[in-house]
């Protein structure tokens, strides 16, 4: 399988090695997917601090909780669909409720494992994770942000879910980008519509902005890399300066970024909002880009959502 385009997982593996050197308490747990999760460099460098539990995803959060309770900083690695799905009760009881210093890394999230089909597509992990108190949820947009988040996670004392997508996205951040928890990032300012986006799809939102420019629609692109704690005040502030909002995510529109932003809109903004993502459906097998288009996570679909949101707005065009 070609992995050369998997820039975020590659960055994750490099960053893990780096924090492993900086923090002797960092421990890596795998569930028979060390190659896919790029933990092999860490495993080679720190063999006494990396453990493969085998095909046993429920044991990742619990063994990690035990390690954390004895002072270790465990990073658990498996595909996102299993990291949260198989381990949900363990994450709830032994990680979130017990507030243990466990880092859950959900690899190949969204439709990353396109050909494997819906059994392997993580399309509700954010919804499940977002309902858990105490859990920080991060979703990086590129390799630079991934590295910054891994460094931050090793320093932060508490449970974190990091959601990684396998995607060939060029960096949108400069190398000296520093991640700050609970902040949004206005990647491009614009006056008409705020597009809130997370993960590898930030790139898609930038294309959307270019696409709509000739129509005279000025799109503001906001990267929401912290899904929890949700920066609701910042979202409201971005929303106030535009007439309408659109969310874009590689996830069911129920429970993820779309729901989170809609909650902020309902409580603080009261302007039209449209959600782009999987319309509460399971998916099929094919390549990720094909699936994204087929299931309405595309520049074209997002453009339609933007036009609809503007049409629903009663504010005069700015």
């Amino acid at each position: 399988m070609a992995k050369t385009t998997d820039v975020m997982t590659t960055a994750y593996g490099e960053a893990l090695l780096e924090v492993g050197a900086a923090h002797p308490n960092v421990v890596v747990l795998d569930a028979d997917l060390a190659d896919s999760c790029r933990t092999e460099a860490f495993r080679a460098a720190f063999p006494g601090r990396a453990f493969d539990l085998g095909v046993a995803e429920q044991s990742l959060p619990t063994f990690a909780a035990g390690l954390a309770l004895a002072g270790k900083i465990p990073f658990c690695n498996t595909f996102a669909v299993f990291a949260v799905g198989r381990g949900l009760d363990q994450i709830r009881q032994s990680v979130a409720y017990a507030r243990t210093n466990v880092k859950i890394v959900g690899h190949a999230a969204g439709l990353s494992l396109g050909y494997a089909g819906p059994s392997h597509h993580a399309t509700e992990d954010l919804g499940a994770a977002r309902a858990l108190p105490n859990l920080v949820i991060l979703s990086p947009a590129d390799a630079v942000e991934t590295r910054a988040m891994v460094r931050w996670m090793a320093e932060y004392e508490g449970p974190v879910y990091l959601r990684l997508t396998r995607a060939d996205v060029p960096p949108i951040h400069a190398d000296d980008y520093g991640f700050a928890l609970g902040r949004t990032e206005c990647v491009r300012e614009g006056d008409d519509v705020s597009v809130f986006v997370t993960g590898a799809l930030v790139r898609l939102a930038l294309e959307l902005r270019d696409e709509l420019q000739p129509e005279g629609i000025d799109v503001q692109v906001v990267n929401v890399a912290t899904l929890k704690p949700l920066p609701a005040q910042e979202i409201a502030r971005h929303a106030q300066r535009t007439r309408a909002g659109v969310t874009i995510e590689e996830h069911n529109i129920i429970g993820g970024l779309g729901s989170a932003v809609a909650e902020a809109y309902a409580e603080c903004v009261c302007k039209p909002l449209r959600r782009v993502g999987l319309a509460d459906t399971f998916t099929e097998s094919d390549d990720r880009p094909v699936l994204l288009s087929a299931y309405g996570v595309s520049v074209e679909a997002a453009a339609r959502a933007v036009r609809a949101a503007i049409a629903a707005s009663d504010e005069p065009r700015g």
């Binding site: 085998g54 429920q58 044991s59 909780a65 035990g66 954390a68 309770l69 004895a70 270790k72 363990q90």
Partner: protein, 307 residues
Amino acid sequence: MEVAVKDRRHIRSLPRKTPLDPHVHAAALRDLQLAAVTMRRMLLYMGHRNRITLHYSALMSMTELVTLLYTHWLSLRPGEPHWPERDRFVLSKGHGAPGLYAALAMTGVIDERHLDGFRRLHSILQGHPDRLKTPGVEANSGSLGQGFAVACGMALAAKMDVAPWRVYCLLSDGECNEGSVWEAAQIAANLHLDRISVLVDRNGKSSYGWMAGRNDVEPLAEKWRAFNWAVEECDGHDFVSITHALARADAAGRPAALICRTVKGKGLPYFETVNTRAHVLLSDAEYAECMRCLDTLEREIADGENH
């Protein structure tokens, strides 16, 4: 309620983790038996005082195990619950929380007055163990089987650090129905975890009643052996038997399971015979009757001392 064990000098004079001999340690054994009666009183009191239903039967079956661990076996500093070199005890059968709280009160880790507010708003004693609320609680449990897997993770840390401490975990036989228990057991053996002893409270009943013919776990000892654990068996109400099994388990050099044969409801005739959930609210009369049973038991133990 007087919960502190009045006189435990014979237990205190024993070096920790000594296998007991009925002749050499007769006085300490009587102390332990009296401590177990005291714990049963505390358990009844917690439920009755707070007017709540409790799993009394499941609490009575684990009483000797927890009493022994906290008064004699675990290496702990009661005034210093975060002492790095302490042994870790994880109550995987989280519904046995009152037993853990009674042990913590008996050994002075928490003040016994907290028992009065058990399971009430703002109490430090939650329905199931909560490490952030209760000093001395090492892990959260209540979702069955999970405490055991967390205990295995602790044992992995102990092995990595070549630590002087051990992990002891109390697991119910009903929890052995959980698939995640066997997942963790397999991993513990694969990782050669040599610092964990799991005590299986083999009382033969889960919440809904007898397990035989329904949700059976037999052959249980063979299962643990097949998962590459060292297996010891003991009478879970006999301190001599428990201490010998614990000593062998501690020296096993690999993960060790103790199958502790116990009686659900032990010490209280009503609970010993009932085959239901036994998750009950005690009336004043029933509470008084249970306490009278314990009075008799206490006199018998004391009489043994006088003869």
